[in-house]
Amino acid sequence: MDRWQAMRIFVKVAETESFADTARQMFMSAPAVTRAVASLEDLIGARLLVRTTRSVKMTEAGVRYFEDCRRILADIAEAEAAAGGSYATPTGTLSITASALFGQMYVLPIVTSYLDTYATMKAKTLFIDRPVNIVEEGIDVAVRIGHLPDSNLSAVKVGSVRRVMCGSPKYFERYGVPNSPDDLKDHRIAASTAAWASPEWKFGNDLRVFVDAALQCNTNEAAIQSAREGWGLTRVLNYQIGPALVAGELQIVLSEFEEPALPIHILHPEGRHAPAKVRAFVDMAASRLRENRLLN
């Protein structure tokens, strides 16, 4: 067996922590996987994996070798892709990340259009409300909301969003409308803790207000739903309530106290040398998001 294949098998065992799963995923027998890893360990002269009855863990040498293998195998894949023309034609699998709701509402339709356009492509989405290290987690493209830290990633601005206070017409009719952030203490608040758990809310001009939310929701959707039903006011990013605003189910208040808008960027790691699958997606996503009048 060639050394690259043995390295691929070792990386897969390290990722799955299982010889049996690796064998299944790589269409091999379990003894063949064991032999490949053993021959690699003999070649290197160091133990890479520790097998227990329940799982497989990497040794310290194994962890270092795992990182090197991933880098080397990625370089090989890139070289093969370049030679095979994937810099001209999108091929393979594209991994995309975005925050949960933005991904679902605005990125997913672009991903499905992309798959319709490039029939040989596959895609993986990671729509999640936590920071994702796109290099370490093997992500091709990220859509990020907010100001970007300095990095080597290529960024394309595609829109902006505002953090808005909103409620339903039914709520305003019954409980009145806040005219300043200080008035929020007299209102029923449904706070989303998905992205901001602090009771201190920041408004424009560095105005800060402590909000005693009667309802704390762990998802944005739940906070928005309670506002739509007229239970209380909530504070979210305006893209999250775009359809409800258009339908007149929610209205914005305290807009004169909003913080400056936050930019939306598409990020990818490879700059001008990005493979065709990334460039094609970034072009399509940038065009579609810039055309979206809720974001621009």
Partner: protein, 101 residues
């Protein structure tokens, strides 16, 4: 109450509502540009052209500008607009109607 809603975004929303049916393409483009400069989204301008707003107070101001009557005046007063502000909105609407007539 002394709430003054005639900030530039409210003013533009009223203009968009009143000129929606007869704006020339050049005027439409100018309005889009002005809206973007004020931080409005395209969707906010679209809804203003339909006579409403995503913003509670702006929607009341637009409604008063489009249909000044006892009911819309009372609604504006209930939302905290001063009598002077209501008059200013109605004057602005008359002026815009005269320009587009």
């Amino acid at each position: 109450m002394g709430r003054s809603p005639i900030d530039p975004r409210v003013r533009l929303s009223i203009e968009l509502a009143l000129t929606a049916n007869n704006a020339m393409p050049s005027q439409f483009a100018k309005q889009e540009e002005a809206g973007r400069a004020l931080g409005m989204t395209g969707a906010e301008m679209d809804v203003a052209r339909r006579g409403s707003s995503f913003d509670f107070h702006t929607s009341i101001a637009v409604s008063l500008a489009l249909h000044a009557c006892r009911e819309t005046r009372q609604r504006a007063r209930d939302a905290g607009f001063s009598k002077e502000t209501c008059e200013e909105i109605e004057c602005l609407a008359l002026s815009l109607r005269a320009q587009t007539a």
